[in-house]
């Protein structure tokens, strides 16, 4: 077997294992041990096995395609042809084929490894975190009508069942070989997200958050369906390989061009539609409102789904569809990413709920990725996707550990926890450093340092290539990076440093069990090293991803129809030592990060400055940020109220007009029916009765013929025969027989 068949096999196994686990838990979950405790082992075993299989597949891949630095040109690596194919054809409608296929390149493999590795950590973490679900749970946040807290049975196995389903869906989304399959699994992860956000569905806020997430995602999916239809209309296929080969044919040197049947604008619509779906899933402006509410779910859910994997799926899809995006679409992506990262960062600064801070941080980081992708930095965006997955899951798990210890989400009630929970404090510090991009410029840093530097460099490269408006993106990213540093350290200081602000909380706090701290440590290591290359062979995430770079995108994009002057510079330009862009970007990023760190230390660490003063000084801004830019209110005003008004109006019309009409027509019908009844009885019935009487009397008369005497019948028979003969001899001739 060559790797072209063995890798799909391994990945398919890794993909289907969680499905098997899901099915088993669905069928036998509650019977697996007391309260289904062994279902956790089953689910974890499945994901760990999937992880092993994924890494095995990666190993096979490396034996064949070991990334070597390209000899010519001195930049980048060779792009490797992906392995694509189909396992099974579901249906064929004319030219449209719906298949279960695969499209495997280095990105797919890396995603598999990342999802399964992070997933494994979080599964293990959940052992400890979800322990209370093993017995009956009293939920004070879900009061009954009589004010008593709800008591319900634990849902331990259900949690892991959803987790398995989610892992299956996410892996399916990654391995999918065509858009239709992507869409199916896209919706499946949406379902899982919905189920897990509403895991505590007795809480009103949780069920509302679930609905909100689902409905907001529908808006994005609507756009995605439009994009799919545009692709299908223009290209007549859903398969990735065919789409890319048609949009960027070899004959054209892999340059973007519009194939026959697909106008340029349709391509724009397709790109925007796909991006619209990604906006919904990745919580970009203006559909970001669901993600912070989604923190109602258990913290491992937030870590796995709403930070590390699912929301990254949107970015992944943008990266996957990168070859078909025209400059206009890329600019839209960059703009949306830019707005998102800035806005979310500002909200994160003022938030006090620890998970909300992290949620807005996630939104902001996703904005970073979108920005990088939009500016042509495919590698930057993807690299940040992976590093972000590592440190954001770490951060969430740490926050989960804290919440588990304190029983509250509010940072103002915490403080001084570092002595009580040293491991959590240290790992979270590493996470903060990583997300803030700590490192020594031009030399080495934590994972976030490298990926963020790529983004900054691309932003700077873009602003260089497009003087004027181009610099907006760079500076927005720069400010965003500074704010990231600020709010992350604010979070750490408020939680772990200083004195305890709430004695009750502090006295109850304790370090989490090993099943929770273990994953924390693993992820902390990952958060540090994720972006590093191995010392000698130069193997790392970056060269690997470089293998998956869509062909033809390394040279940058320029000259859209609408925006002929915009240029998305090639990515390697930013790292050209001669231009010095990378160095500049690194130093500026380092500087703003340091500034943010110093500010945070001044405000919250050393308490030299009072945050309340700052609040008073920037009161309008503070209010704006605190109320999340009034997005929820805006949506309520723009969408929900009108809908309610229209509903009320329709209700009124229904009651006043339609009901009246219905009532009166019913009365009219009743009146007509009475008239009809009268006619019926007088005329029709009598007629029918008369006929029946005639029939009856005729029958009475005729029954006398039926004597029951066989011999009489025989005589009639004979007489009839004679009669027939006579008639025939009189009237019959051969012509009548048709002869």
């Amino acid at each position: 077997m060559d790797i072209n068949s063995i890798i799909p096999l391994l990945l398919a196994l890794a993909w289907l294992l969680p499905l098997g686990s899901f099915a088993l838990i669905v069928l036998f979950g509650p019977r697996m041990g007391r309260a289904g405790r062994y279902s956790a082992y089953l689910a974890t075993g499945a994901i760990v096995a999937a992880c092993v299989l994924s890494f095995a597949a990666l190993g096979f891949w490396l034996t064949e395609h070991f990334p070597h630095a390209a000899a010519h040109g001195g930049h980048g690596y060779e792009t490797v042809q992906p392995i694509s194919g189909e396992w099974y054809t579901l249906a064929e409608f004319g030219r449209l084929r719906l298949t279960i296929g695969y499209y495997i390149d280095a990105l797919t493999l890396a995603m598999f490894c990342m999802v399964t590795l992070v997933g494994s950590c979080i599964h293990v973490y959940s052992f400890g975190y979800m322990r209370e679900e093993l017995s009956d749970v009293t939920d004070p946040l879900a009061p009954l009508a009589n004010g008593q807290p709800l008591r319900r049975r634990g849902r331990y196995c259900r949690f892991f069942q959803y987790f398995s389903l989610f892992c299956f869906s996410m892996l399916g989304l990654v391995i999918a070989g065509n858009v239709a399959m992507v869409f199916v699994f896209w919706e499946l992860v949406g379902i899982c997200s919905y189920l897990l956000i509403g895991f505590y569905h007795e809480r009103r806020s949780a069920s509302n958050a679930g609905n909100k997430a689902f409905i907001v995602n529908r808006v994005g999916d609507f756009g995605m369906i439009i994009g799919m239809m545009a692709i299908w209309t223009g290209l007549g296929t859903f398969s990735f390989a065919e789409i890319f080969s048609q949009v960027r044919p070899i004959a054209a040197g892999y340059q973007l061009q519009t194939p026959e049947g697909l106008s340029y604008w349709l391509l724009v619509v397709a790109g925007l539609g796909i991006f619209c779906g990604c906006v919904g899933k990745s919580a970009q402006f203006p559909l970001h409102v669901w993600l912070p509410d989604a923190m109602e779910g258990p913290t491992p859910v937030s870590a796995l789904i709403h930070a590390a994997t699912m929301v990254a799926a949107g970015v992944y899809l943008v990266g996957r569809f990168f070859p078909i995006f025209t400059p206009e679409v890329l600019l839209v992506i960059a703009s949306v990413g830019c707005i998102t990262l800035f806005m979310a960062a500002t909200i994160a600064i003022t938030a006090t709920d620890i998970k909300r801070v992290l949620a807005y941080s996630t939104v902001s980081q996703l904005g970073f990725m979108m920005l990088a992708l939009g500016l042509g930095g495919w590698l930057a965006g993807m690299l940040h996707l992976f590093t972000h997955a590592c440190f954001k899951s770490l951060l969430f798990l740490c926050s989960g550990s804290v919440i588990h210890a304190c029983g509250t989400n509010e940072m103002p009630e915490m403080g001084g926890l570092r002595r009580k929970m040293p491991i959590t404090a240290i790992t979270m510090l590493i996470g903060c450093l990583a997300i803030a991009g700590a490192g020594i410029p031009t030399l080495i840093g934590l994972s976030g340092f490298h990926s963020k530097d790529y983004i900054m460099a691309q932003g700077l490269s873009f602003s260089t290539a497009n003087p004027g408006f181009g610099s907006i993106f760079f500076y927005a990213a720069l400010i965003g990076a500074g704010m990231t540093s600020f709010y992350m350290f604010r979070l750490w200081y408020m939680t772990f440093a200083g004195r305890p602000r709430d004695e009750h909380v502090h006295s109850h706090a304790h370090e989490s069990p090993l099943s929770m701290t273990g994953p924390l440590m693993v992820l902390a290591v990952l958060a540090v090293v994720a972006a590093w290359n191995l010392p000698i062979c130069k193997l790392g995430l970056e060269p690997l991803l470089e293998q998956a770079r869509p062909v033809g995108t390394a040279e940058g994009v320029a000259g859209g129809m609408l925006l002929p002057n915009v240029t998305m510079p090639a990515e390697h330009l930013a790292h050209d030592p001669a231009a010095g862009i990378a160095v500049k970007a690194e130093w500026s990023a380092f500087a703003v990060a340091l500034l943010g760190f110093l500010l945070a230390t001044a405000f919250y660490g050393l308490r030299k400055l009072d945050p309340a003063d700052a609040r008073r000084t920037f009161s309008p801004l503070y209010k704006l940020f605190l109320h999340k830019w009034w997005f929820d209110e805006l949506y309520a005003l723009l969408l929900i109220r009108p809908v309610l008004w229209i509903s009320a109006l329709v209700e009124a019309i229904d009651k006043r007009v339609i009901d009246w009409l219905a009532d009166n027509s019913a009365r009219a019908v009743a009146a007509i029916a009475r008239l009809d009844d009268w006619i019926d009885r007088i005329f029709v019935d009598n007629t029918v009765n008369l006929l029946a009487q005639w029939t009856y009397s005729t029958g009475l008369w005729l029954r006398r013929i039926q004597t029951g005497n066989i011999r009489q019948y025989v005589m009639w028979l004979g007489a009839g025969l004679v009669g027939l003969f006579v008639l025939m001899s009189l009237y019959w001739n051969y012509a009548m027989a048709g002869g």
Binding site: L702, Q706, G708, R711, V714, L717, G718
Partner: protein, 114 residues
């Protein structure tokens, strides 16, 4: 020119068939015994059968005319077989009738009269 020297023709057979047929009909019409009626039926069938055979026979036809050929014998054969079947069923019905009425008089079986 007597009948003894003339070859017989089709009509001769047909006349015999007609006699059998009419006898059968009269038998059916005049017998009160179920079995008598049954015998009448047999006679009628035989009369018809004789006609079939006669029409199918090549002996009885003037030269140059083509009759119904083997069809005549074939149909007659079927009639014989079906008549046997009919007789079996009819006898079974007669037995049932006897069990029910303690007689074989068909005039007594007029429960279905109008």
């Amino acid at each position: 020119m007597s009948i003894f020297t003339e070859p017989v023709g089709l009509s001769h057979f047909l006349v015999v068939g007609a006699v059998l047929f009419v006898c059968g009909v009269i038998c059916m019409a005049t017998k009160r015994n179920v079995l008598g009626v049954l015998m009448g039926i047999e006679l009628v069938l035989n009369g018809a059968n004789l006609n079939f055979v006669a029409f199918g026979s090549s002996v009885l036809r003037p030269p140059g005319t083509e009759g119904i050929g083997m069809d005549g014998q074939m149909i007659a054969l079927f009639v014989i077989v079906l008549a046997a079947a009919e007789a079996a069923v009819a006898l079974a019905i007669a037995l049932s009738y006897y069990h029910a009425h303690a007689t074989v008089d068909v005039d007594r079986g007029d429960e279905l009269r109008g």
